[in-house]
C-alpha cells in the first residue's frame, strides 16, 4: 500500500509534448480514475507510473521513494491491461503465479496464494486451462488474479473493460469496486468511459491535451465543473451547451425571454450557457422560458430523452423521468432550473456567479 505523487511531471516524444506540468497527490488506498478523450495522455501517465516509459521532467514518488529511474520490476506495482496480456503458453495457475515464480517463492506458497486469489475471483475450475480456452471475462479475471496474488503497493488499470461487451462490463465494474473495498489498496484506473469513472472513483482526474483539467470527487465534477471541457465530458447524456448573448435583464433566449442564472450580474459576459438534460422541465407553452419542437424521443424505460429543436440552438436534450409519451413534431415548452445553469467565458473557464 502506498501513496503516489507527481510533481511537475512532463513527457515528450522528441518535439511532441505528451504530458506537461502534472501535479497530483494520490492518498494511500484511494481509487483514482484518469479520464479523458483518446490522445489526452492518460495511458502515458499510467505507463510512466509503471516505469514502462521514462519521464522527461519532474518527479514521481511512490511511498516516500522517488522512482524516476527505477525499473518496472523494482516499483512493486501490478498492472492490468486492456488486452489482458496473459502469457499464452502458460496455464491460468502459472499466469497468476508468474510474478512469484520470478521472485523465486517456494512452490507451496505460490500454490496457496494462487488458490486464494482464484477463490476470490471464482477461477478455481479454470486453473489448468490455457488463456485461449477462456472467455473475455474470464481472461480479465485471470489478469486481475495475476495482479492481486503479489500484494503490490498499488494497482494500475489500463482501460481493463474496453474489450468486454456491455453486460459483462457492468459485472466486472462491480467486481473491481468490490476488490477495492476488500483490499483497500491504492488503485489508478484509466478509462475513456465517464460512467466507469463516475461509478468507481473516489476522485476523478479529467485530462485534456496532456494536462490535468480538473481533479475532484465524481459529484464535484458533476456539480461544479471548472471548465467547459469537464462540463461536457462528465454526465450522460452530456450537458447541453448553447451560445449565450447578454442583455440588461439576463441572458437572452430564443423567443425573446431572458433567464438569470444563479449569481448572475451584468459584467460577467458569458459566451456559452450550459444546462444538463435532467435540470430542464417540460411545461405549458405559456409558462415556458423558451419553446421548440420534439424531434426524437428515446425510451430507456426508467427515463425518456427528448431531443428538442429550439430555433438558433443545436438540439437540446431533455430528460423526463419514466416513460413519457411525446410524439415527434409536438411543440414543447422548456423551463430552466436557474440554480443549475452554467456560464462559460471565452477561454472555456466556468464563470462563477457572485453568490455561488
Amino acid at each position: 500500500m502506498a501513496e503516489i505523487s507527481f510533481s511537475n511531471l512532463s513527457k515528450n516524444y522528441g518535439s511532441i509534448e505528451v504530458l506537461r506540468n502534472i501535479n497530483l497527490y494520490i492518498k494511500d488506498g484511494e481509487f483514482i480514475v484518469l479520464v479523458g478523450p483518446s490522445g489526452c495522455g492518460k495511458s502515458t501517465l499510467l505507463r510512466l507510473i509503471a516505469g514502462l516509459e521514462t519521464i522527461t521532467g519532474g518527479e514521481i514518488s511512490i511511498g516516500s521513494q522517488i522512482v524516476n529511474d527505477l525499473e518496472p520490476r523494482d516499483r512493486d506495482l501490478s498492472m492490468i491491461f486492456q488486452s489482458y496480456a496473459l502469457y499464452p503458453h502458460m496455464d491460468v495457475a502459472r499466469n497468476m503465479g508468474f510474478s512469484l515464480e520470478i521472485r523465486k517463492e517456494n512452490k507451496d506458497k505460490r500454490q496457496s496464494l494462487v488458490a486464494k486469489a482464484a477463490k476470490t475471483l471464482g477461477l478455481e475450475d479454470y486453473l489448468d486451462r490455457l488463456p485461449k480456452a477462456l472467455s473475455g471475462g474470464q481472461r480479465q479475471r485471470v489478469a486481475m488474479g495475476r495482479a492481486i496474488v503479489r500484494k503490490p503497493r498499488a494497482f494500475l488499470f489500463d482501460e481493463p473493460l474496453s474489450n468486454l461487451d456491455a453486460a459483462l462490463r457492468i459485472g466486472m465494474r462491480f467486481e473491481i469496486a468490490k476488490l477495492h473495498q476488500k483490499l483497500g489498496a491504492t488503485m489508478i484506473y484509466v478509462t475513456h468511459d465517464q460512467v466507469e469513472a463516475m461509478t468507481l472513483a473516489d476522485r476523478i482526474v479529467v485530462m485534456n491535451a496532456g494536462e490535468i483539467e480538473q481533479v475532484g470527487t465524481p459529484i464535484d465534477l458533476y456539480e461544479q465543473p471548472q471548465t467547459l471541457f469537464v462540463a461536457k465530458f462528465i454526465g450522460s447524456p452530456s450537458m447541453n451547451i448553447v451560445p449565450a448573448s447578454q442583455s440588461d435583464d439576463g441572458i437572452e433566449l430564443p423567443g425573446g425571454k431572458t433567464v438569470k442564472p444563479g449569481g448572475w450580474s451584468k459584467n460577467l459576459n458569458p459566451v456559452q450557457l450550459g444546462f444538463r438534460p435532467e435540470h430542464l422541465s417540460l411545461v405549458e407553452i405559456g409558462k415556458a422560458d423558451c419553446t421548440g419542437k420534439a424531434i426524437v424521443t428515446e425510451h430507456l424505460g426508467s427515463d425518456t430523452f427528448v431531443y428538442v429543436d429550439v430555433k438558433g440552438w443545436d438540439p437540446v436534450i431533455v430528460r423526463q423521468r419514466g416513460n413519457s409519451n411525446i410524439q415527434s413534431g409536438t411543440e414543447l415548452g422548456i423551463s430552466f432550473d436557474t440554480s443549475r445553469l452554467y456560464m462559460f467565458a471565452k477561454d472555456g473557464k466556468t464563470i462563477r456567479g457572485t453568490d455561488t
Partner: protein, 283 residues
C-alpha cells in the same frame, strides 16, 4: 424442392471441381519426384529401352548401393549437412536478434539499416560472384566449408531478419510489459515470454534457410574445387562424365538427398501450424 436439389448438386459439382483442381496441382508438383524415383529404380540396361513407360519391367536397388558404397556421396552428404545446419543456426541466431531490435526499439540509423538490407536483395547473385571469389581467396578461405557457411549466412540474413521481425511484431508488446511489471528484466521477459512464443517463427526460419543452403549450387561450384569439400548439389555433377551421364546413380543420389529436407519439414511442421493459429491476447 427442385431449387433445393439444384443448389445441392451445384455444391457437389463445385466441390468436385475444387478437388480436381487441387489433384491436378499436386500431380504436377510431385511428378518430377515420381520420375526421379522411377529412374533411380530402373536397372541401367533398361534405362533407354523402355522409353517413357510409366514403370520399368524390372526394378533394382543397385544404384542406391553403388551411390552409398562406391562414390563420394557420403562425403558430399556430410559436407552439405555441416554447411546447411551451421548456416541455418547462425542465420536464425543473427536474424532473431536483429528482427527483435527492429521490431521493438527505436534507434538512430534504423531506417538506413533496413534500407541497406533491402538493397542487398536487389542485386542478382551473378553480379556478386567475382567480388566474393576475390574476397574469399584473399582471406585464404578458398575451398573450405567455412567460406560457404559465411557466404550463405550473409546472403540469407536480410530476408530472415524481415521474416523474424514480422514474427516479433505479431507478439504484443503488452506481454513484455506485463512480464517486466511482474518482476522480469527485459532479457528475462525475452527469454521466458517472447522466446517460447517465437519458436514457430524460428522453426520457419530454420527450415527456410536449411533448404536454401542445402540446394545452393552457384557458390558451391565456385568456391569449392576438391571432391572432399564438395556439397551435395555440386557433387551431383560428378555423375556426369566425359563419356556419358549415369542417370540411375544420379537419381538415386537425388532421392537420398531429399530425405533430410523432408525429415526437417516433418519435424518443424507442427511449429509452423501452431505459429499461425496461436491466439495471444484478445479474442
Amino acid at each position: 424442392m427442385t431449387t433445393l436439389s439444384i443448389t445441392h448438386s451445384k455444391r457437389i459439382v463445385a466441390s468436385l471441381a475444387r478437388t480436381l483442381a487441387l489433384a491436378c496441382y499436386v500431380v504436377f508438383a510431385l511428378f518430377p519426384i515420381y520420375w526421379l524415383g522411377k529412374i533411380a529404380l530402373t536397372p541401367s540396361k533398361e534405362l533407354f529401352k523402355n522409353g517413357t513407360a510409366w514403370w520399368p519391367d524390372s526394378t533394382t536397388f543397385e544404384h542406391f548401393t553403388t551411390v552409398v558404397l562406391h562414390t563420394d556421396f557420403l562425403v558430399f552428404f556430410q559436407n552439405s549437412m555441416i554447411v546447411s545446419v551451421s548456416t541455418a543456426f547462425f542465420v536464425t541466431l543473427f536474424a532473431s536478434a536483429a528482427g527483435y531490435a527492429f521490431s521493438r526499439f527505436q534507434f538512430r540509423g534504423k531506417n538506413i539499416a533496413i534500407f541497406v538490407m533491402l538493397l542487398t536483395q536487389m542485386f542478382p547473385l551473378l553480379m556478386l560472384i567475382a567480388p566474393i571469389y576475390r574476397i574469399v581467396s584473399g582471406l585464404g578461405l578458398h575451398n573450405s566449408l567455412t567460406s560457404l557457411i559465411i557466404v550463405y549466412t550473409a546472403f540469407n540474413i536480410p530476408f530472415a531478419t524481415f521474416l523474424m521481425q514480422s514474427f516479433f511484431d505479431g507478439i504484443p508488446r503488452d506481454l513484455e510489459d506485463a512480464a517486466m511489471i511482474d518482476g522480469c528484466t527485459r532479457f528475462q521477459a525475452l527469454r521466458r515470454i517472447v522466446f517460447p512464443l517465437t519458436l514457430p517463427g524460428m522453426a520457419a526460419t530454420l527450415g527456410f534457410v536449411f533448404t536454401a543452403a542445402w540446394s545452393e549450387l552457384l557458390f558451391a561450384l565456385m568456391l569449392i574445387d576438391s571432391n572432399e569439400k564438395m556439397t551435395f548439389p555440386s557433387g551431383l555433377l560428378n555423375f556426369v562424365s566425359k563419356f556419358g551421364v549415369d542417370w540411375g546413380q544420379m537419381m538415386a543420389a537425388g532421392i537420398l538427398a531429399l530425405i533430410p529436407s523432408c525429415l526437417f519439414f516433418i519435424f518443424i511442421q507442427r511449429y509452423l501450424v501452431q505459429g499461425l493459429t496461436s491466439g495471444a491476447v484478445k479474442g
